[in-house]
């Protein structure tokens, strides 16, 4: 395992919500409420959780696409949140994003060349020939036919579009790729193509991935380490195999048991949760999962559990293990 590339410390992202006409009551949506994790160089960290748990917001907060409320985002030791606008622009070269919706993430009015030239232009590659050369090379890398260079984004299918999105992220030779549900919108057969491509690229370029996904099977397949989020907080983090084989947090256990297995011969005991995820505006005072947890006890209501080390590279935030 390499040295830490990205270090997120107690990150908080709150969105103010204004209400009322005269009296401005401001409440906060606590999308991310104090999470910490590390991504080491060359590894893939999977960030999983259900919708609304704050995993996508975390990704956007790391790249400063949304302002962070509190905490530090250290990229190679520099706190990104404290950078000036121009410093941030330079820093962004090292940290690129791949987005979920391959339809919305590419401007339909631009050609492949325009889309891929944009990061090069933004980071001072002024020579048109040079740009063209790098674009064509990158198209080869992600498996796009070079002859498509003049085509518009919306002429492509979902899988091809996602390849363009990946090419855009890679063209500046970043070290860290933050991939926000890159395969969620794709069909199974296309999903496999993209997952394989991501694996190949990681090997070829020594990339580090922060892989955000709700699909536990995909995370299991791709990631070295997994971080499970629930309602803006970290529930469990650690080595993928350890977590999948021995989930400690009741939420992780539920999540794993809920995944349908594509084998009719394999029947398993399922933990069915009651109720829905509570609102992030008014999360429980103690453990975020307390309302739905089958193993909740008194302490869980009052005291917020902190991440504690259970094993080598396996941490859990649950009072059961105090």
């Amino acid at each position: 395992m390499g040295k830490p590339l990205l270090d997120v410390k107690d990150l908080k992202i709150h969105f103010p919500q204004k209400k009322g006409v005269i009296k401005k009551k401001v409440t906060y949506v606590k999308a991310v409420d104090g999470i910490s994790f590390t991504v080491n160089e060359g590894e893939t960290l999977g960030l999983v959780g259900e919708s609304g748990c704050g995993k996508s917001t975390t990704g956007r907060g790391i790249t400063q696409l949304v302002p962070t409320t509190d905490g530090e985002v250290l990229y190679e030791g520099t706190d990104i949140a404290s950078l000036s606008k121009s410093e941030l622009r330079t820093q962004r070269k090292n940290m690129q994003m791949v987005f979920q919706d391959p339809y919305a993430s590419l401007n339909p009015r631009l050609t492949v060349e325009d889309i891929l030239a944009e990061p090069l232009k933004a980071h001072g590659v002024k020579d048109k020939k040079e740009r063209r050369k790098r674009i064509e090379e990158m198209m080869d890398v992600v498996g796009l036919n070079r002859s498509f260079i003049r085509r518009y984004a919306h002429e492509f299918s979902g899988g091809q579009r996602q390849r363009i999105g990946i090419a855009r992220a890679l063209i500046l030779n970043p070290k860290l790729i933050i991939a926000d549900e890159p395969v969620a919108a794709l069909d199974v057969s296309i999903q496999a193509q993209i997952l394989n491509l991501l694996k190949d690229l990681q090997e070829d370029f020594g990339l580090t991935y922060l892989f955000i996904s709700h699909d536990l099977s995909v995370v299991r397949h791709l990631c070295d380490r997994v971080a499970v989020m629930y309602l803006g907080r970290m529930a469990e983090i650690g080595n993928t195999d350890k977590i999948f084989e021995n989930p400690l947090h009741p939420y992780t256990q539920t999540l794993l048991s809920a995944i349908p297995i594509s084998n009719p011969r394999q029947k398993k005991e399922r933990i069915i949760l009651q109720g829905d995820v509570p609102s992030p505006v008014d999360p429980p005072k103690g453990c975020a999962f307390v309302g739905r947890c089958p193993k909740a006890h008194e302490r869980c209501h009052d005291e917020r559990p902190e991440l504690q080390k259970m094993d080598e590279d396996h941490y859990v935030a649950c009072h059961l293990y105090d």
């Binding site: 209400k19 009322g20 006409v21 005269i22």
Partner: protein, 307 residues
């Protein structure tokens, strides 16, 4: 609900306040001297100064504004017309009824025709009715209402003699002006209703209703319309503003003794107290209509909560 209405009413105050400032400054920044307007251009310098002092135009602007506001808020006094020396509030009240009746009746036509034609167009999409409806609405939107009024007058009043040409002597007099005023809004409502109904007909819950085995008629009249009319109500409310504006023109054509012709006369003769009062009245009217629209919106759409 009541709280919401109160809060909205209170929220209107700053806007009205800004409007009073704007309309007040209007008088003092526009060319044209009120004294000369009131007493004629020929008065000598000395009389001029005396009058100016007497009418209070020599006081600093904030003092004048304060006096204006106190008169208005405390006494409900909007001053006197420069031109006729008549009490503005009385004159406005007398004419308000005419404009009010005219706009209400126009809106009635517009909604009656607009919504029904819009629904027919949408449900019989691409039929000959739909096409005819669309062509006539876009034509209606291209006709200046004053010209339409003149043509109506020419045909129905002059040639056929069915209706009186102008004035407000009998209930029959309102017919042509209200149709003239309403037809443009009707066209807008037709187009809006049509697209709104078409949009709602594509919604998943309409498919759900059909999957329940519901009759198409009920699907349209209950499931579709209830949802499609929510934006139509908003739009129709906003069109009230358009009607108030249009009334200015139409009243002129048909010599309808409402606020519109009063406004034009006052502008042409720079009768500022009247202009001030009317601007304020029109704004207030518009804000109130918006409020009513918002409230009715809440009745139609349960999702809008007033908190």
């Amino acid at each position: 609900m009541l709280q919401f209405v109160l809060r909205r009413l209170v929220g209107m105050i700053p806007i009205l306040f800004i409007i009073t400032i704007i309309s007040f400054l209007f008088v003092h920044l526009t060319p044209g001297d009120p004294i000369r307007i009131m007493y004629g251009a020929e008065i000598d310098q000395e009389t001029y100064q005396t009058l100016r002092e007497r009418e209070g135009f020599n006081d600093p602007l904030p003092v004048q504004y304060g006096r204006y506001m106190v008169d208005m808020v405390v006494h409900g006094d909007f001053g006197q017309s420069y031109r006729t020396r008549a009490d503005v509030s009385e004159e406005v009240m007398r004419r308000f009824g005419y404009t009010f009746v005219l706009t209400i009746l126009s809106m009635f036509w517009a909604i009656l025709i607009g919504v029904s034609v819009g629904i027919i167009s949408a449900t019989k999409r691409n039929s000959i009715w739909d096409r005819a409806g669309m062509v006539s609405t876009i034509t209606a939107l291209s006709i200046p209402e004053f010209w339409f009024g003149l043509m109506l007058m020419q045909i129905f009043a002059v040639q056929l003699g069915w209706f009186p040409t102008s004035g407000a002597a009998s209930p029959l007099h309102i017919l042509l002006p209200s149709i003239t005023l309403g037809f443009g809004v009707a066209a807008t409502i037709v187009r809006f209703t049509r697209s709104s109904v078409l949009e709602v007909m594509r919604e998943d819950y309409v498919r759900t209703a059909r999957a329940k085995g519901q009759k198409e008629r009920v699907v349209i009249w209950s499931h579709v319309l209830r949802n499609a009319l929510i934006p139509v109500v908003t739009m129709a409310g906003l069109q009230f503003g358009f009607l108030i504006g249009g009334a200015v023109v139409v009243e002129q054509v048909f010599a309808w003794p409402g606020l519109g012709s009063y406004l034009i006369d006052s502008i042409l003769s720079r009768d500022y107290p009247v202009i001030q009062a009317l601007i304020l009245l029109f704004s207030l009217q518009f804000l109130l209509i918006n409020l009513i629209v918002d409230i009715s919106y809440g009745f139609l759409n349960p999702q809008i909560r007033y908190d």
